[in-house]
């Protein structure tokens, strides 16, 4: 027959066309694999080596020490401040300082969350290097 167009080849196939689906799945897979290691975020905190008493730096007075006290208050170089004012105070302190270095001294009863929050605010205020002060043995009493 001359008009048997596709007469024999018309096999109705019930299969779904899976090729686009596989494309999508592969892309998903690759996205998963790439974002897993890349998505991590962290703060870098300097852990200065323990200083021997005679090596005490003479520049001690110019250091900025943010203190998280046991009673929930904050202090910058012994000057009490509040959490709300912390950002403004840190901006005030660090805007004119070339050395964006701050130490954090935390009472043992404060939550780790508060420390991260304080570091977060400090980063936001332009602090580039954050250090933990060495623990003072007499203050490690616990609650």
């Amino acid at each position: 027959m001359a008009i048997g167009v596709g007469g024999g080849g018309r096999n109705l196939s019930a299969d779904i066309n899976v090729t686009p689906m596989i494309d999508v799945l592969l892309v998903l897979l690759i996205i998963f694999m790439i974002t897993l290691p890349l998505s991590r975020r962290a703060f870098d905190v300097q852990v200065p080596p323990e200083q021997k008493p005679q090596e005490k730096q003479p520049t001690q007075s110019s250091q900025i020490v943010l203190e998280l006290r046991a009673d929930g208050s904050y202090a910058i170089n012994n000057e009490p401040t509040t959490l709300d004012q912390l950002d403004a105070r840190l901006h005030q302190v660090f805007d004119q300082r070339p050395a964006k270095l701050m130490f954090i001294k935390t009472a043992g009863t404060r939550k780790y969350r508060d420390v991260i929050q304080a570091m977060d605010i400090a980063r936001g205020a332009g602090v580039q290097v954050i250090g933990f002060t060495p623990a003072e043995p007499q203050q490690q009493g616990g609650p």
């Binding site: 290691p37 975020r41 870098d44 905190v45 935390t106 939550k111 780790y112 991260i116 490690q140």
Partner: protein
Amino acid sequence: MIDVMLVLLIIFMIVTPAITAGFQASVPRARNPEAREEGEFEIRLGIDIDGKFYLDMTSRVTGQYTGPKYIGDADLPALLQQLYASRSSDRILYLKADQDLNFARVQEAVEIARKAGVRVLGTITEQERQPRAPEGG
């Protein structure tokens, strides 16, 4: 073929949390942390809500990743010392601690790390996108 893909996807979805099984910590959120790509042989120290230490790393000797392993307080100093003794440049320790921990516990870990020769501590946080909700002390 699509079966294989689906299975792979499901395996990935299941394995990702399972890798960290046995160690659970709700990591604090922050707005300004830096991106820190995971290195192959980095050393991660986890502290869960109970204050237990977990060491999470790929062994440089065997090249095998075994997931977070519980480390007793008494064993941690020697272990970290041994790990960092052979490292001269990358003296960084990633710390994944629960946000509700008392800082005293974190401080203990920091002191141990300091004595082991760690110079930089990477405190792992999660990126917070929306503005911080007002928190009550």
